[in-house]
Assembly symmetry: C2
Homo-oligomer: 343 residues x 2
DNA sequence: CTGAAAGCGCTTACAG
DNA sequence: CTGAAAGCGCTTACAG
């Protein structure tokens, strides 16, 4: 029913191969015939079958995207990815990792559809790594986004935020204001970026003279952070004068607990977050934080993946070494930081 | 390089057709040979090529999803869609409508990849409708999600919230509390659900005796609502005692403007929203609103689409009439509603 | 119950 | 510059 190359060939009085070439595949053809064929194709409303092209050329113009959608942050990431892909006529097939142990099925779902590459936003879950290696063995490039993949062997490209530097910048900002007694509310272990942020912050303030820093871990329940860590920190005899929530959401919880206890920010203590979460910009006082450009990071990751795909299909090109691209977050000083009380 | 049916056939000493049948395509085969073939397929790590299967069977096990990702709400919708699809081994190819007039290209991107169906969350943009008709003409089923499609001809299935009833329930709640002077902050025109909510609210309170209701339209800038409407309403001489933000975000802006002016909620006026946006549950006082189950709606839409696809491929089945499935939102009374001041 | 053949709609060498 | 043929990896009638 759909119009095929054969239909065009018949109408134009040429071979099917000629039509294929005229429409863009490799080979030479006289400019006059090409134009005639193009015209007919257009009149007939011809549309290529990307499935067939995929089989023939080994490229489907489609990538696999492995990520969860839990909040507006992921939505932002997706927008960036989409921008990077659509600029080159690529489309994403999306799979969401869940806890059902279906990782392998999901990888297969992508591979069976012959995606040209895979973009993954890793969840802190080591189970994935074996499957990713499988993908690489099939020659399908992978780029990790936002969280680095820790597997030893496969050199998976990475695009993300410079968590270390971001936390450092926040620590320096607070040190300059005169703070010496710090608190950190964080969560997660090694591969998790929140962990890296906490570490960098603690290191930086620790390097300054006469400082203390208490870290507390926030629980996680019903899809939300718990306020236990904030409570613990604000309930201390010698309360920190500056608190770092390794995520804006975490910082926001600190602010709520503070409000419940009648503490004012930044009069009683200063508070900083990480991410510049849009949804929280409405909360007063507006958080001092560090902005990571989710959109830019995601777009870059998509672009890098497409570069890898091209590289693979360009004969004679040497495969470039693994890339690890870090975006520097930007300090946004707003209403929650000030010199320590009594300073 | 990848193992094919032929490889399995050779190793099993049967024909390629026999292998195809053993692996699931139509036809009969002896149970013994089937098992032998299955075993070999597994040992070899055979994986079907869904592109080829798509060409042969006319089904790619893939649907096209047309929606924007702007906030956590869309993320929630996507989770529901994904749940509906993955339960039946379907995967989504995602396209985000933007303002570039690329609608046709995006539809083609989906159709050229031979998606079995299309799920669309319409944006208030009539441009789409012509293209959707094209999709239907190709015999590809479409289901609209969240916002109804208004085109006359094509009967596109719809799954969404009963906005009318939701707004009605909120209005009744406020009337019962004794309110008579109402305000509405809304946005958008006809196809937009916000419009329907505002209308239903105005109708309901209008049907009660001795009531007034003022509506104001919120502007939209830089991806956020403006507070002009909230300002106008709260600045009135005869300020409403109850205000309806047709979205939780809109209601939140009213709350912010109120805070700036030193007005207390619900002492000075009551406030209701629509959606039960998770991100806003942390803001105090917690909003009285109406909960729409984005996840459920989205999952139902996906399931309905898959049903349509099956229906189409089941010979002899009569095509069922258009469905319009409305989910009743649930009233969640929280901290922002009370009897009017002085009552 | 199983095999041999045709075909899905393209691309890609290979001849002319 | 163009045509005829083979092939991508499957499924589906059609014979046996």
């Amino acid at each position: 029913m759909a119009v095929t190359l054969k239909d065009i060939a018949t109408k134009a009085g040429v071979s099917q191969a000629a039509v294929s070439i005229a429409l863009g595949s490799s080979g030479r053809i006289a400019e006059a015939t090409r134009e005639r064929i193009l015209k007919i194709a257009q009149d007939l409303g011809y549309r290529p079958n990307l499935l067939v092209q995929g089989i023939q050329t080994g490229r489907t113009q489609t990538i696999g995207l492995l990520m969860k959608f839990t909040s507006g942050y992921e939505a932002k990431l997706f927008e960036g990815i989409y921008a990077g892909l659509s600029a080159r006529n690529y489309a994403p097939i999306v799979m969401c990792p869940d806890e059902n142990g279906k990782e392998l099925e999901q990888v297969h779902a992508l591979l069976d559809r012959r995606v040209d590459g895979v973009l993954i936003r890793p969840v802190a879950d080591a189970l994935w790594e074996d499957h990713l290696i499988q993908i690489q063995q099939r020659g399908v490039p992978i780029v990790a986004l936002d969280t680095e993949i820790q597997a030893a062997d496969p050199h998976i490209d990475f695009v993300g935020t410079d968590d270390h530097h971001g936390a450092q910048v926040l620590a320096e900002h607070l040190l300059e204001l005169g703070h010496r007694r710090f608190g950190v509310v964080s969560r997660g272990v090694f591969p998790d970026p929140l962990f890296a942020r906490a570490q960098a912050f603690i290191e930086t303030v620790g390097a300054a003279p006469d400082t203390t820093c208490e870290e507390r871990t926030a629980g996680w329940r019903d899809g939300r952070y718990e306020d236990n860590a904030a409570r613990a920190l604000l309930g201390m005899n010698n309360r920190p004068t500056a608190i770092f929530g390794t995520t804006d959401d975490l910082a926001d919880i600190v602010a709520q607990v503070a409000a419940d206890r009648g503490l004012s920010i930044p009069q009683d203590f200063s508070l900083v977050g990480f991410s510049d979460t849009v949804d929280l910009r409405q909360v007063r006082p507006v958080l001092t934080t560090v902005r990571q450009s989710a959109f830019e990071i995601a777009r870059k990751a998509a672009t890098l993946l497409l570069d890898r795909i091209n590289e693979k299909h360009t004969p004679g090109t040497q495969r470039k070494p693994r890339e690890s691209i870090l975006y520097d977050p930007e300090l946004i000083v707003r209403e929650t930081t000030a010199p320590p009380p009594g300073a």
